[in-house]
């Protein structure tokens, strides 16, 4: 049943005008096709099952003007942002408002090739991924040669630089050749509450490729809409983690396809949500080939009047026998007004599988607080201690000491900041 096509919203009309004005892009068949896919469904509403808890069409009253190509002043502002940000890993690559800025970053390490260029067309079914594909000015491509092993993390810093309201589109491609090994961190920085960020990252691992990926979002964008499109060939292995502590409306969506036999994926995340923020993690892991292995582990701490969403779907296609999939989502609610919505789904079309999911929503166990208090620890401290432990267990899924330590520091800072903010309000 086709829903009666809603009339175009203000934001949809603006987006259509903006795309048409990007004449060079609009004339590129792949881009035009991507925009057409977006336009066909429009901004997602709750009627789209994958957007059941985030009504983007209602939330996005209009599309902000497109960020222009960065000028000298913008590059200087970008340098200042970078200077305040600790460098992670062996090489830093930088994008500014969705454009690759090689002058701000490092040369790629041996075995890695980096370029800003036209993205390869995808057939993303999701409207917002399609929109990024249509609108992004270029694509930052990181390719790791077959067999290469990169010694430390490559960090991609996505900067939002500029005054006032603007929107930006960034498209990133990470591709590992057969047997290659690498670690990539994507850090999103600089967005103010007037920024609408649309980001997409494709991850392709050839046979036996091994990638560890961390995405960290801590800035203040009005909208942070991020899609990861993941494709794993046989025996490839991906560990991907998302750390979310910012954004008024944050939506991370992960579409992973285990296309080759014996592929392994471990997805994890921690969302720290406070104030009136909304953070939505939606993922779909599709097992197409036999003997796939997937683990999903997501935790959220939801405070104040914030809303957390986790939707996870493990799908096992016919023939994907011996799939082993397990998903867990856990949330802690800290205030009477905080909300958590979880929808862990299994969709299974093969019989010889072991799949499971678990989901819990609860407050901090008062018995535990009491136990700690009885040992002389003040209540707030006890609470922070338990939350720190709760978050740290999720972060441990990164399975990399240095990266985990960095994330734990951010968790500790968030918890400390929260106590201060709570006191200020009291």
């Amino acid at each position: 049943m086709a829903a009666p096509a809603p009339s175009r919203s203000t934001a949809e009309a603006t987006l259509a005008r903006q795309f048409a004005a990007l004449k060079a892009l609009a004339a590129t068949p792949g881009r035009a096709a991507a925009f057409a896919r977006f336009a066909a469904s429009g901004l997602p509403t709750r009627r789209i099952e994958a957007w059941h808890y985030t009504d983007l069409r209602a939330a996005m009253t209009d599309a902000a003007p497109l960020a222009p190509a960065p000028d000298g002043a913008a590059i200087e502002a970008a340098r200042a942002l970078l200077a305040a940000h600790d460098k992670i890993g062996v090489a830093r690559l930088v994008t500014v408002n969705g454009r690759f800025a090689p002058e701000l970053g490092d040369a790629p390490p041996d075995g890695a090739a980096v370029a800003g260029r036209e993205a390869r067309a995808t057939e993303a079914r999701d409207a917002m991924a399609s929109l990024v594909e249509a609108m992004s000015p270029d694509s930052l491509t990181v390719e790791i040669a077959a067999g290469a092993e990169i010694a430390g993390p490559i960090e991609i810093v996505h900067l939002a630089v500029g005054e006032g309201a603007f929107s930006l589109y960034s498209w990133t491609e990470i591709a590992l050749g057969a047997g290659a090994r690498a670690t990539v961190v994507e850090t999103f920085l600089g967005a103010t509450p007037a920024v609408q960020r649309h980001a997409a990252t494709t991850v392709r691992l050839a046979r036996g490729g091994w990638l560890k990926h961390v995405a960290a979002i801590g800035d203040e964008a009005e909208l942070h809409l991020e899609s990861q499109l993941i494709d794993l060939e046989a025996e490839a292995e991906l560990n991907a983690f998302g750390f979310v502590s910012g954004g008024a409306l944050n939506r991370r969506q992960i579409f992973a396809r285990l296309a080759g036999a014996d592929a392994k994926i471990a997805l994890g995340g921690l969302a720290l949500i406070e104030g009136t923020r909304r953070a939505d993690t939606t993922l779909e892991v599709v097992h197409v080939a036999p003997r796939g292995f997937s683990r999903e582990f997501y935790r959220a701490i939801v405070a104040d009047e914030a809303v957390g969403v986790f939707q996870g779907k493990i799908m096992v296609a016919p023939g994907a026998q011996k799939t082993d999939g397990a998903m867990k989502s856990q949330a802690v609610l800290l205030s009477p007004q905080a909300q958590m919505n979880a929808k862990p789904e299994l969709e299974i079309f093969a019989d010889d599988v072991i799949c499971g999911h678990g989901a819990t929503v609860a407050s901090i166990d008062p018995e535990m607080i009491f136990y700690l208090q009885s040992r002389g620890i003040p209540k707030e401290e006890a609470e922070a201690m338990l939350l720190d432990a709760f978050g740290a267990e999720a972060i441990a899924k990164v399975d990399d000491d240095a990266l985990a330590e960095g994330l734990r520091a951010r968790l500790a800072a968030w918890l400390a900041g929260r106590n201060l903010r709570t006191e200020a309000n009291a």
Partner: protein, 489 residues
């Protein structure tokens, strides 16, 4: 123990015709012309000699229905239903209110005998060991017999057909009808509100523990007939009632529509236990025929400390679309949902529950066991929500799926919505297959592959079977074995 033995016997006894309730009975009946319009709604209401307010209620629902769309969100797939190609009313002739069992058409009694449902009280009384069960038998659209009425009346319990309740207890019907499932609720419930023809009515007064199990057996016999029954059960303060419904239908090549509504109301400290053994004709192995079972069942825990417990064993129907739910309004009220859904052949099941926590310290528990075999699709769909004022709400959900064969599907779609920090919601789900190791172990002890599968499946669903009244648990166990017949290669 004995039950397993019977299961095994039953599996062995199965020959070609696996669906033993597939006979058609030669009962003369009154059938309304095909099609749906205001005239038909008036016709049904007139046939039942209903008061004006009820006709108005029906017409209101009918007009609303015209503006509604069929829900499409469930994982079920079927060709469009031509609502004008159905009869909306069929009643066995001479069944216009039998005064006693002696008035019931003997052919009808034989039908129920064939179904194994006792409608003759003496017979039941003669059986010394059997627990007594009062039965309301609904044939096509009409209640044909209700047993043990007199004895129930002594306890103050009203158990009668819905039509009788409209005439004899209009104030109760008027007060409660549509208060749990409003006539605007959803496409099928609204349709039911317009055209429902009969069903069962139960009222248990304050402080009364219903002295026996109550039971309704539904039977669709007529061709091209939709069945739209409506059940209303009210348990006053401190009352208790256990109710069971069973359903069968003849084998027919065309699909038949069953769109029922069940409303339960539990006041302070009341408890309603509602069990279903649903064995509508599931269609043949190729998916021809079978019942479309689109049912709205909801219980309202209106009073403090009230409790509603749904137990269902779903083995039949081509399509099952039902979500027996609880609205936990009263403080410290409790909802339970125990479900076994078995699908085989081309059956499609989309079933589950909603537990809506509104009141303080409300608790709920969901145990769902899905077994898919053949080329069937079996979906658990559930919602647990804890609202702002539901401080201290607790839910535990466990839903497990078992797959037999590589061409079926098992799906789990839970919605968990917490708007209260003191709520604790726990959900766990697993999907797996009957393990080769278990099968071999059983076979090494002498059980055939089919016996071993039945045994393992019965173990898998045991937690839920235990919730059924003893007699029905045995019946359900047999059904499960029959439903899985032919699923082991």
């Amino acid at each position: 123990m004995a039950a397993v033995q019977e299961t095994v016997d039953r599996v062995r006894a199965i020959d070609v015709d696996a669906y033993k309730y597939g006979f058609v009975s030669a009962i003369e009946s009154d059938v309304a012309p095909k099609g749906l319009n205001e005239g038909i709604v008036r016709f049904i209401s007139a046939k039942k000699e209903e008061p004006e307010w009820l006709l108005a209620w029906r017409l209101d629902a009918y007009r609303r229905w015209l503006t509604m769309e069929e829900p499409k969100w469930a994982r079920v797939d079927y060709p469009p239903i031509d609502f004008q190609d159905l009869h909306y009313f069929a009643a066995p002739k001479n069944a216009a209110g039998p005064r006693s069992l002696d008035d019931v058409d003997p052919e009808l009694l034989r039908v129920y005998e064939k179904l194994g449902i006792p409608l003759v009280e003496q017979e039941i009384l003669a059986g010394v060991e059997k627990p007594r069960v009062a039965v309301d038998a609904v044939f096509d659209s009409v209640s044909v017999a209700t047993t043990f009425k007199a004895e129930l009346a002594k306890a103050g319990v009203i158990f009668c057909s819905f039509s009788e309740a409209v005439h004899n207890h209009p104030e109760l019907v008027k007060r409660y009808l549509g208060t749990v499932v409003p006539s605007t609720d959803n496409y099928y419930a609204t349709l039911n509100s317009a055209v429902f023809s009969d069903g069962s009515f139960v009222y248990v007064p304050e402080g009364v523990r219903c002295p026996m199990e109550l039971s309704t057996y539904f039977r669709i016999n007529e061709k091209n007939t939709g069945q739209f029954e409506r059940t209303l059960i009210i348990a006053e303060k401190g009352a208790y009632v256990s109710y069971l419904e069973g359903c069968t239908a003849p084998k027919r090549d065309e699909n038949q529509l069953h769109a029922a509504v069940v409303e339960l109301v539990a006041l302070d400290d009341a408890e309603i236990k509602y069990s279903t053994v649903q064995n509508w004709y599931p269609g043949d192995a190729e998916g021809r025929g079978g019942i479309y079972n689109f049912v709205t069942k909801r219980g309202d825990c209106r009073g403090a400390r009230s409790k509603i417990s749904w137990t269902q064993v779903e083995t039949g129907s081509a399509i099952t679309w039902k979500y027996p739910s609880c609205i936990l309004r009263g403080e410290s009220s409790r909802g339970e949902f125990y479900s076994i859904a078995i699908s085989n052949g081309r059956q499609q099941v989309d079933s589950g529950t909603k537990m809506i926590h509104l009141g303080r310290n409300t608790t709920s528990r969901i145990i769902s066991k899905g077994v898919s075999a053949g080329r069937s699709q079996n979906t658990y769909r559930g919602q647990v929500s804890a609202h702002r004022l539901a401080t201290g709400a607790r839910n535990f959900t466990n839903c497990d799926s078992l797959l037999i064969g590589s061409e079926c599907g098992a799906h789990t779609v839970p919605y968990i919505e917490a708007k209260n920090a003191s709520a604790v919601i726990e959900h766990e789900a697993t999907t797996s297959k009957v393990s080769e190791e278990q099968l071999f172990y059983c076979q090494q002890r002498g059980l055939s592959a089919e016996e071993a599968t039945a045994l393992i499946v019965n173990g898998f669903v045991r937690d839920v079977l235990q919730q059924l009244p003893m007699e029905f648990a045995v019946e359900a166990q047999k059904l499960i074995a029959i439903s899985l017949e032919g699923s082991v290669g």
